[in-house]
Point group: C2
Chain length 345, copies 2
């Protein structure tokens, strides 16, 4: 069985290709009866127009490219789910490429897809790109009239739509919450200290301490290396050196859990003696013991929002120039590693 084309159908009915094409598009030009019999037959043999011919003809593919740093990150997977759902609803397909945090892979990928493969991009930029501050490939792409929407890890330098979280405010609120529930010595542990989003969180942390009249204690701020989750515990050990710390905000779940384990090993009870809040409401939080209180970034919503921005741009060419940044508000998901604010024992 081979793919059937308009030509085949035309031969079958001894009509011209254009007649078939019009009939299948329900054109008024074609007589009722011919139209119906053609449509019926097409349905019968399950005719599907060749998408490459359409893409070539229309110069658009109904496909978008998703470029993310990692496949195994739960937050990104959630975002991907939001993107995928929205795309399917809108009749778009998605091509996914992973950069593994590599700048060169990101550049290659975006070039590979900029040859008519996709109509636009949704991107969360790689760590290396952010460190190098080299965004030329994105700018080229935009100049090429391929719109880009960035989410979570975005670059101010690039003029495009963006979807971000209110990291500063979220961390501020987390500090406030810990303080209100009784914590006096709140720490901050980041696994992504070189990224902008981490700095936003750190600022929120500092402002939060200020707001509760607490000084920043340098010993309670620590950076761990992302690539080495097995070493989290040793990298976090300094936090507990003087046994002062009684609360922690961590930039990811794994770090939060590692800290919790150290505390427990030291005989601290969680959350009574040690409270912890972790970023990104992922899969670990729901299965830890006790369950981790998190700051939810609403990954799926972020993905959905990014996709909507992109489709809007793709389908309303006029507004291709004015870009917007949407801020997705985080929520604290209270579980069992923090004390309630009122009546906390």
């Amino acid at each position: 069985m081979k793919k059937v084309t308009l030509k085949d159908i035309a031969a079958k009915f001894e009509l011209s290709i254009s007649t078939i094409s019009k009939a299948l598009k329900d054109s008024e030009e074609i007589g009722e009866s011919t139209r119906l019999k053609i449509q019926e037959y097409a349905k019968l043999i399950n005719y599907r127009p060749n998408i490459n011919a359409l893409s070539l003809k229309n110069s658009k593919t109904k496909t978008i490219g998703i470029i993310i740093p990692d496949m195994l990150d739960y937050f990104l997977a959630q975002a991907l789910r939001g993107i995928e759902k929205t795309a399917i609803e809108k009749g778009y397909k998605i091509i996914i490429c992973i950069t593994n945090e590599s700048h060169s892979k990101e550049v290659e990928t975006i070039e590979m897809l900029s040859n008519g493969s996709v109509d636009g991009f949704i991107v969360s930029i790689s760590m290396e790109t952010e460190l190098k501050r080299d965004y030329a490939h994105f700018m080229d792409t935009i100049a090429f009239e391929l719109p880009i929407v960035m989410f979570d890890r975005v670059a101010n330098e690039v003029h495009c739509d963006k979807v971000v979280t209110n990291n500063l405010e979220a961390t501020f609120a987390a500090v406030k919450k810990l303080s209100d529930s009784g914590c006096k010595h709140i720490g901050f542990a980041s696994s992504i200290s070189h990224l902008k989003i981490s700095n936003e969180m750190l600022s929120g942390y500092e402002k939060g301490l200020e707001a509760v009249n607490s000084d920043v204690n340098k010993n309670l701020v620590v950076n761990v290396r992302e690539d080495h989750y097995s070493g989290y515990e040793s990298m976090l050990a300094p936090l507990f050196k003087d046994n002062l710390i009684d609360g922690l905000i961590a930039t990811n779940e794994a770090v939060a859990l590692a800290a919790m384990k150290i505390a427990q090993r030291k005989g601290r009870h969680v959350p009574t003696d040690f409270s912890v809040i972790g970023y990104s409401n992922g899969i670990l939080a729901r299965h830890s013991n006790p369950k981790l209180t998190t700051i939810s970034q609403h990954g799926e919503l972020m993905g959905k929002t990014a996709a909507e921005l992109l489709f809007d741009k793709l389908e309303n060419i006029e507004n291709i120039k004015n870009v917007t940044t949407k801020v997705i508000k985080t929520d604290v998901i209270e579980r069992n590693t923090t004390l309630p604010i009122h009546g906390g024992k």
Copy 2:
């Protein structure tokens, strides 16, 4: 800036389109000097052939479709990573579609992509499809000369390449291991009891018990509903009713952890009083407390293998008819929810 085509380059040099095309393909037909100057210019302006034109011309897209039931499943994400890496190496792109375990979505998806969008498929079939045993869409696709490779959740009824794990042997070995380390009353908890892979595991469990001269105790076998992870603990409670159970094999990590929590709440020490092994070496295992001993299905390797099978089929059209099934051997990853076999405390 607009996309540049052969025509543009031809105009620039006042040559014909075919000359440019040949020059860029390094054809001997074109004179050395013209060839070089054209190639140089093309590189300069970053010429990229339009992929839709190529796909149309060649009737192949260098793209494969990946159809999986879930985006948030760690095992599938690992497989996806293996597929993605292999695809990029081979110069292929991947289009990913999620079925959310829905048969109709699976059918729609595969139809949507069978119009020239992809050259072949890698599929892990949805639960609904397996329940309905309705594989017509796959058979149609294959008849259409679009090859399919199935992995993990496969259908015997469909004649195509497959990549599976030795579930029976793996579970058998797990029972053996638990028994050797001292467990007398080993249970089995499945979250996917209606799927073939679960039955294979169950058989392995039963054969394992037989091998260690233990009878199957119906009370120690339980099925939980996948969709309701928050209810795992209550669904697992019956296992502990008579306080006999001292070992468990679970078909996923979350179930294993839920069982562990129950045991701990009952004052049992893990692994001394209660040992547990969970399927699919995922993210939860490494972060639980104690860390979970797992059966690794080598997700990334499975993905890689599936991709290799597919590319082999795509690039050697001759062998499109003979299909193979590759079995990926599992490994037990020993962590801290099981006792060592020799010298267990």
